[in-house]
Amino acid sequence: MATAPTEIRVTPEIAAEHGLTAEEYARVKHILGREPNITELGIFSVMWSEHCSYKSSKVHLKRLPTRGKLVVQGPGENAGVVDIGDGLVAAFKIESHNHPSYVEPFQGATTGVGGILRDIFTMGARPIAILDSLRFGEIVPGKGTSEKEAAKNRRILDGVIRGIGGYGNCFGVPTVGGEVAFEPCYSQNPLVNALALGIARNEDLFFAKAKGAGNPVIYVGAKTGRDGIHGASLLASAEFTEESQQKRPNVQVGDPFMEKLLLEACLEAMQTGAVVAIQDMGAAGLTCSTVEMASRGGTGIEIDLAKIPQRETGMTPYEIMLSESQERMLLVAEKGREPEVLDVFKKWGLDAVVVGRVAEGGLARIKNNGSVAAEIPAHPLAEEGPVYNRPIAAPAPRVESEEDWFRFAPEGTTLTPNFLKLLASPAIASKRWITEQYDTSVRTNTLAGPGASDAAVVRIKDPKTNEVKRALALSTDGNGRWCQLNPRVGAMHAVAEAARNVAASGARPIAATNCLNFGSPEKPEVMWQFSEAIDGIAEACNTLGTPITGGNVSFYNETLGKSIYPTPVIGVLGILEDVSRVLKIAFHNEGDLIILLDGLATAGHSERSEESLFAREFSSSEYSKSVAAIVAGEPPAIDLGGEKHLIDCLVALASEGVLESAHDISDGGLAVALAESCFAASSVVAGLQTGSFSLGASVRIDDPAPAELALFGERGARAIVSLTPENLAALLAIARQYYVSAREIGKVTHDEAFRIEHKGRAVIDSPIEPLRDTWAHSLEHTISGK
């Protein structure tokens, strides 16, 4: 074939520089039946990068449950799709943008949000909500973190927050939830996982399958530039070294305004009926979109690079094919109906150009001004890439003794000072400073925004009639610390907590999406963590009835050879039939009963009296980390059956309208859950208390465990709910029906005091005000350096 005179000749060394192993390079030659040229090599290298090919994770991902009666589309498309009734479907997916967000926090985060939004509207669904699961290094100096390091982490946090807000706010989709956690291991490798949810009518769904030889291939949106070349292969599929800052040119730049136009234009173009298939250009840009559309459709594809709108002059085929310029789409239209499609894009002021045709056979042929720049069989390129069953090795068991574990305070110690410390810790403190920088109410669907309920709750309007149908709830969760200590149990907790949060908002969990953030797959211990986590997720999703409909794997999250904690993040979606039955965490009325619901058959810690077992479990808690700087032991044991009982019970209680509030027990334990329910009741708006409405709580715990475990332990399958006394009988009947224990532990008070007694002694006793002030302003003070 013709080779441009200046073109670099491909050698095994150049292949290696592109991240291809000798075997992979041999496979390239086998598929082509010849040596590749440099453009083809570039195409293979991005398509077979870890990020695009899932070559190290594929064999494990097969173990995840992906089917269910509500699943319309499982993994493999741009997003998962589930049936939500009345002919409507929800498309949702979570994706990572970790490395770019470290190199360039603002742009990394914006393009992460932009990418996941495109995945959703590519399917024909209008995005209606975003959630973000974020992990940063410690932002407060302390054990293992210098002030300089903490300051750097605060800057990364600030950039990421501005980036997420900057994109979502302008695009016009509310950022309604998510979570933020801090651990030293994320200091050089923050995690930015963005989840988007969209709604469509079932018949309006679109897929990325090219069809019909001769149909035109249309390029739409932003012009192609040199930004982001090798973003997927070099940035997302390799670990960080000291030179990583030089990778800044590999980070893409986002333009939410362009994406907003693209959204409206694409949805309008789809309505013409002339669009056959559509695929966004995300990772690996034009390469991935052309090849995958052809491969999925079992066709060939032919495009001419000279026709691609370009931002810069003199771009080579290699650069054009590998550019990751944002806000671009590739679509296939029905032959002869091009004008209908092109007119819509013209109306929105967007570039739209016919750049090629769907072809017979299976070749992806890339032409450049008449000469052939690349010619590769699409299906083998997309589907027959390398698959690795990488070596797995469990690390040597940790040898720990009581010396390494948390030491409980003597009985009767007042815990108020430690409680304040916990409320001030960035993990527990109010995230209002962050969430106020996000538009949380645009599209007027937000029934429970950040912090109002355990899950984010948005109502859904029929895209055609605007009629309000039902509501959807979403929660993302993942405890990296627990997964580090025990990846299988930690991963189960992630699923269970996300599902429990959804149920605590009143919604029935129906499906899940996952973002699996791990270190280098070339390390057997990391692959062991990965494999264990997959098994944990699979077991939990099976038991809880939430199949995985899509997601993303992010490997190579390590810097200078040190991996992050294994951090599977799970997003669970739930349906709430009655929009007036959203459960929120805020206490409502003085005199309401506070009930502890416990899904474990044998409630409390009564069966296990071994002090050392208590200490081992408690050493993995937020309290242990914040108060004693100890991270050790094991995550709390998990009972998925108990979790399921609690979830079903919460959903039933919500639909019967028995409850005034519900809040699951998680980070910081029972005491933090109670406090948050009090804080939420006082309707603090922007630091201004609205009138004198403020509620407290008075609670007695008779758990035989040490007070700190009883108050701050994080064992799952529990929630605190409040209700008016006349509803108690109804609650008890429902709880019994679901094998959930329900214990009255106290009352909502109006004396603005927060009091918890343990074994008859007041261990926390404080006015609400100082507790709330600490919790409400700690993050803002930390970040602004006050």
Binding site: F257, D439, S441, V442, R459
Partner: protein
């Protein structure tokens, strides 16, 4: 009676305004594309919130040159009702239909939260269904809501009672403490001297049903409906 909601490239609260008027108030409403010179015989025009033209150059600075704005200017001159919300307010300022200019918020950050605004006068087409001093709870969501104007204009504005909404605390006791963005005189919304053109930074269209946390925004659209009904009766 018919409402029109203008759609600029980058408007993102257009659907919300449409929903508030069409689905909640159940009044006729249609979208007006920014390229159109024709207001489709609408009796009231909403310039919705969003990021018209990506906020490039300055908020509202490019949108004011959209073809539809020529018609909006004529409509304003003929006494037509125009309400600009958030970005719509910014566009009205840029177009000179309302005085003042928007600067970045005091804290230099985007802010989205519920604020409280006090109705300063009830004899406008946008507030005739409110009571004097009524406090409304509605969200703001903007980076540039720090309304500023020269001293002479400000004095004239106050003298002519063109300030229709002022930020305040929930109980109305402290306007300065309730000011989220640094706007002069805690101004959240103003009207022109003729009172047919108004703009405000908070989003009334986002709080039109109790399930959304407040329905205080509805009263503004109801006021407009009443004004239109009154005007129709007067001509009948």
């Amino acid at each position: 009676m018919k409402f029109g909601v203008v759609v600029f490239p980058g408007s993102n609260c257009d659907h919300d305004a449409f929903y508030a008027i069409g689905n909640v108030l159940k009044k006729p409403v249609e979208f007006i594309w920014h390229q159109s010179q024709d207001l489709a015989n609408c009796d009231a025009v909403i310039l919705p919130g969003g990021f018209s033209y990506g906020d490039y150059l300055r908020t509202g600075a490019i949108a004011r040159f959209s073809p539809v704005m020529r018609s909006v200017e004529k409509f304003a001159a003929s006494g037509g009702l125009i309400l600009g919300i958030c970005n719509g307010f910014q566009i009205l300022c840029e177009a000179g239909l309302l005085p003042g200019a928007m600067m970045r918020n005091n804290g230099l950050r985007f802010i989205c939260r519920h604020v409280y605004i006090r109705v300063e006068r009830t004899d406008t087409p946008f507030t005739n269904a409110t009571t004097k001093g009524q406090i409304l709870k509605m969200p703001i969501a903007h980076s540039d809501g720090n309304w500023n104007v020269g001293d002479t204009t400000l004095a004239a504005l106050e003298k002519n009672r063109q300030v229709i909404f002022r930020y305040t605390t929930p109980d109305g006791s402290n306007d300065d403490a309730g000011n989220p963005n640094g706007a002069m005189h805690n101004i959240a919304g103003i009207c022109n001297r003729e009172r047919n053109v108004a703009g405000l930074m908070p989003h009334p269209e986002r709080v039109v049903e109790a399930t959304l946390g407040s329905n205080d925004g509805l009263v503004i659209f109801r006021s407009m409906v009443e004004a239109l009904v009154g005007a129709a009766k007067a001509t009948a």
